[in-house]
Symmetry: C2
């Protein structure tokens, strides 16, 4: 792979003394060993969400715990830490953005986190991850928040312990958020989200009073599941997702998991009475999948072969879901396919009607089905709630009413039950706290990257209208996927676009798309 | 669980000094930790055979290798070995068949094996297990033995290394066979199989000249796969297999794997033009599954919660597949179900015709589809071939012709290609060598146990004819499943039936069933 593979990094050939070479090789081997165990955890997780029989949950928790404990031992291995420190202080001190320099920097950062966590806490978190998820599945099904509350309280108790062990000054949210979006803080999230809220609310008000509304009933016709499966696989494959190096399975919650460098698994869920659920979640997860399939396999387990941040990860899914998947050029290509797959539902529907329907804006209850304009407001609500839970200013028992009040205040609608409210997302049940803002960041990264890609990829819209996605994908591969975790997301966005992260491309995109649809 | 749970074992309450108690607790924890990793390996294996994308194979091998290396380190842990030795020499010396005594004895035996294996060989075997399997899948599909030969040669080279490291006197086959059937030797296998061959050949000769033959064409009608799936799940569930603590998936090779104490997974394969493939393989694997679901969950990872031997395991699958599943009482219950599931194929077929067809005897090429009378002859062939490969008197390149010659000599038919010959079984591709004789032992154990069960379970045949399997299952639970690995298979069969293992019940069963069917 040539030096352009990581977007023009200053990757000089690595020149080390024999002693440093031995250290470097030990470090790489050790990091790859840890990554193997991590990949096994992902398989356990995939299996738990897709195929594990319900009675298997209790022992699955033991399996997670055993792997987490072993990984923690490897992370905190004395020699590993010493090797990293010596390499960082010595030969790699002046090349922080070379493959090797970035690898050492990122690994040291993780080692520093891990040594602060006691093994007992690591095991308790791993155990909670698996058991709490099963309780959430049952509680959501039964619409019974009370049944979930004790294990949710326990999760937040452990996450707060984790934050305290990692250390924080402004907010216990910071060290948890930092795990998903390195170098970002709760204050950053609050600023970005408040800015979005300020701009989105007037836009939504305008749309609320619009003279024309799309006919969304066409999306609620009968869409046979078998045809949805076929079209989902066909589209995922067409945009470049390799099904021989991945899978697409049904699961209660759509996700993407990397079980190995050539084994990337997507899930989706099907609703026979709603076109969008599986189609757009498949495009979304396939966007994640393209990122993971595009990482440098030779660097798997090291920074240049890792994703940049979860915000950047989300940018890839949102880019394919929304910027490609809800665009006019895309539907010029895809509408005949989809019309043919669902003749009963779509025979008498025009592409323009369809395009308007999938871009309708309507405050709604379920985040993963929210439109582009209201989506970030779901994140505003979740972010503030989880921050307050962690900081201790909100009690678990008050969570459902706070959730429902916020929906009423921010989006103007109130969930009729907890299934469509606080029980909808899997994250907290698996101990993922401090993650939600990465979704909003992803939306912003996506728009800024996409706006730039149009200036770089020749005739991009015309190619997409013909179902040719290679130009765009190659741009993403070269400028994002192949860069791995060498730079932070903030650095990367500047390197790609020449600009710091801004909400402007996102708001411009929304206005340019939505105002014509609503005849504003 | 009371003392009758392991069939009346002399399980006095464990009385240990404080120091020995600490040792005992450390030993149990360590053994359970190893078992957790082992269970994860089974999930990797299940996934590889059911769902892993093809490109994932290379990294899967790394995952297996990492776990195997870690398990090997735990098995050879100094303190673990010391604790076991002290407990065995001290407080447990006089209670070899108590739960604790058996646990220590079985663990020491495994530790002794493991310390003889170098870590590099353990890793090479784990790596070969995964990569070779993928090559076998492709080679079988392409009917191309040459493509498989190099990795098969490598597997046998490693297995011979393993046998040499473990140590042997009479044959390198012995230490490998011993892993699957503790205390049994190649000479034992040769004696049992030669005895069976001597008795089966004349019986087959008589059947060959029989005045009446079943009409087997009724099994080759059209059996829609969807209905096969439904009936398979229904029957497995009816005999007692818990689908909430297990699964049934399609896979190229039928198997049963225990991913956890409450997570037992079966596979089957479907042939739309042959009733028997999925129906009897499902019953077979469900028999294995009932054994695993019947093991004492509180002892998971310790001898009382482990299966006795693979021969005893196979006895449970063959018992449900053949002694129950091909009996008149079973079909009195099941024929209406099956007739209703496949009306087009079976509407005009009588239960007697169907019963005769599923009990037809006909030398055939595929082991897993062989009838009860010829099945053991497939084992005779495999056993002698793998023994000769290991001992070095047969070369890999000569394997297909030796295989085909043996089929001609022993069964009177010659495979037209390697797909139906030497490439049919998965075992060697995953490094399982020395396993095949356990199938024949399983047939003998099954018949001896079943003959005895009829004298112990009230009105067993009548209950089965009504679809009530609880009496038989409880008998098996109590006398076999709950005994775990406390006794060897040879001891267990004597404890249950009062007799040493014999081929007599098996031959009596065959004659009693087959002679009337063939009007002999």
């Amino acid at each position: 792979m040539d030096s352009s593979s990581n977007g023009g990094a200053e990757s000089a050939p690595l020149k080390l003394s024999p002693a440093h070479t031995r250290q470097w090789e030990r470090v790489c081997q050790h990091a790859r060993d840890i990554r193997v165990l991590d990949s096994i955890q992902w398989l356990l997780d995939w299996d738990q969400q897709c195929y594990m029989p319900s009675a298997g949950a209790e022992y699955r928790a033991r399996q997670f715990t055993a792997l987490a404990a072993y990984m923690h031992r490897l992370w905190t291995d004395r020699q590993f830490g010493d090797d990293l420190n010596e390499l960082a202080a010595g030969p790699l001190a002046d090349q922080p953005y070379s493959d090797a320099g970035a690898t050492v920097r990122v690994l040291r950062r993780q080692v520093e986190r891990m040594v602060r966590l006691p093994q007992t806490l690591v095991e308790a978190l791993a155990n909670a991850r698996s058991t709490s998820q099963q309780i959430w599945v049952a509680a959501r099904k039964a619409n019974d928040f009370r049944a979930f509350a004790p294990s949710l309280a326990e999760t937040f108790r452990l996450k707060r312990q984790q934050a305290d062990a990692l250390g924080w000054t402004a907010s216990p949210y910071d060290p948890l958020f930092d795990e998903y979006e390195p170098d970002a803080t709760a204050a950053d999230a609050e600023r970005v989200l408040a800015d979005l809220q300020t701009q989105l609310v007037p836009l939504l008000d305008r749309i609320r009073g619009a003279p024309r509304r799309p006919d969304v009933s066409i999306l609620r016709r009968h869409y046979p599941v078998a045809a949805q499966r076929r079209i989902g696989r066909r589209i995922a494959s067409r945009i470049g997702f390799r099904l021989d190096a991945g899978r697409l399975d049904p699961a209660p919650h759509p996700f993407c998991m990397q079980v190995g460098p050539q084994d990337v698994r997507l899930t989706t869920r099907y609703d026979e009475r709603f076109f969008s659920t599986s189609f757009f979640s498949t495009l979304h997860e396939a966007g994640h999948g393209l990122y993971e399939q595009g990482l440098r396999a030779d660097q798997f387990g090291l920074a240049p072969g890792d994703y940049c941040s979860l915000g950047m990860h989300e940018s890839q899914s949102r880019l394919w879901e929304n910027l490609v998947g809800r665009s006019q050029p895309f539907w010029t290509f895809a509408f005949p396919w989809v019309q043919q797959a669902f003749p009963a539902a779509l025979a008498s529907v025009s592409q323009d009607q369809f395009y308007a329907a999938i871009n309708d804006v309507q405050p709604s209850l379920i985040r993963v089905e929210a439109d582009e304009a209201t989506y970030n407001l779901h994140i505003v609500i979740r972010f503030r709630i989880e921050r307050d839970l962690l900081e201790g200013s909100l009690a678990i028992d008050d969570l459902p009413s706070r959730w429902n009040d916020e929906y009423e205040r921010v989006l103007g609608i109130r969930p009729p039950d907890d299934r469509q409210g606080v029980l909808q997302d899997i994250h907290w049940s698996v101990g993922i706290v401090g993650y939600f803002p990465t979704y909003a960041l992803g939306n912003l990264y996506a728009c800024q990257v996409y706006e730039h890609a149009r200036t770089q990829v020749a005739d991009m819209d015309a190619a997409i209208a013909e179902g040719r996605f290679g130009g765009l994908l190659n741009f993403l591969r070269r400028r994002i996927h192949h860069c791995g975790r060498v730079w932070s997301a903030g650095q990367l966005i500047e390197r790609i676009t020449g600009q710091a992260l801004s909400s402007e491309p996102f708001m411009n995109h929304l206005r340019a798309k939505l105002l014509p649809i609503f005849a504003l």
